[in-house]
């Protein structure tokens, strides 16, 4: 795996329902586009 994907794969966060999700599961079956949002002001 590439460095970023490798580092992200084991990270566990939550979905909007509060259910834990493992980031690496996002691309387990098909490609995943991860969009990290930023906010100004």
């Amino acid at each position: 795996m590439t460095k970023t994907a490798d580092a992200l794969a084991s990270i566990e966060i939550v979905d909007d329902g509060g259910t834990p999700v493992v980031v690496g599961d996002a691309w387990k079956e098909r490609s995943a586009l991860l969009v990290f949002i930023r906010h100004f002001g």
Partner: protein
């Protein structure tokens, strides 16, 4: 005219938006809006840090951030002339089932978003056709 989400979904690519903040904020956004993407919450910025994003890359997301992104996607990302930062993007990563990063873009400043044609081409090339 298909919007960007249709093209992404049509390529069989899973779209996940990750924001800082709380699950409650994300849930209230989902209740108010119909959003076509999955919404994950990284309250402690662990994923942000793992992705190498600086602290300034993410502040608490707001309904406005997602509204901007949704409008940008509905418009097929054709808001290049709009004042401000309609995308509110921190970074974008396209990762395939082999764990290969097929595309990445980290925004350095407001309005710094990936060239859409490059991103869509990477999506279509890496996605599984249905």
């Amino acid at each position: 005219m298909r919007d960007a989400y249709d093209e992404i979904a049509g390529a069989g690519v899973r779209l996940i938006v990750i924001g800082n903040g709380s699950p409650e904020q994300a849930r209230s956004f989902r209740e108010d809006e119909t959003i076509p993407f999955e919404l994950w919450v990284d309250s402690e910025m662990r994923a942000y840090r793992a992705a190498g994003l600086r602290r300034g890359a993410a502040k608490v997301f707001s309904l406005r951030s997602f509204g901007h992104l949704r409008r940008a996607m509905r418009g097929g990302f054709r808001q290049a002339g709009v004042q401000g930062d309609p995308w509110q993007l921190g970074a974008v990563f396209l990762i395939d089932p082999d764990g290969r990063t097929r595309y990445e873009h980290v925004s350095r400043e407001a309005g710094d978003h990936p060239p859409v044609h490059e991103l869509m081409r990477a999506i279509i090339e890496s996605g599984a056709k249905r």
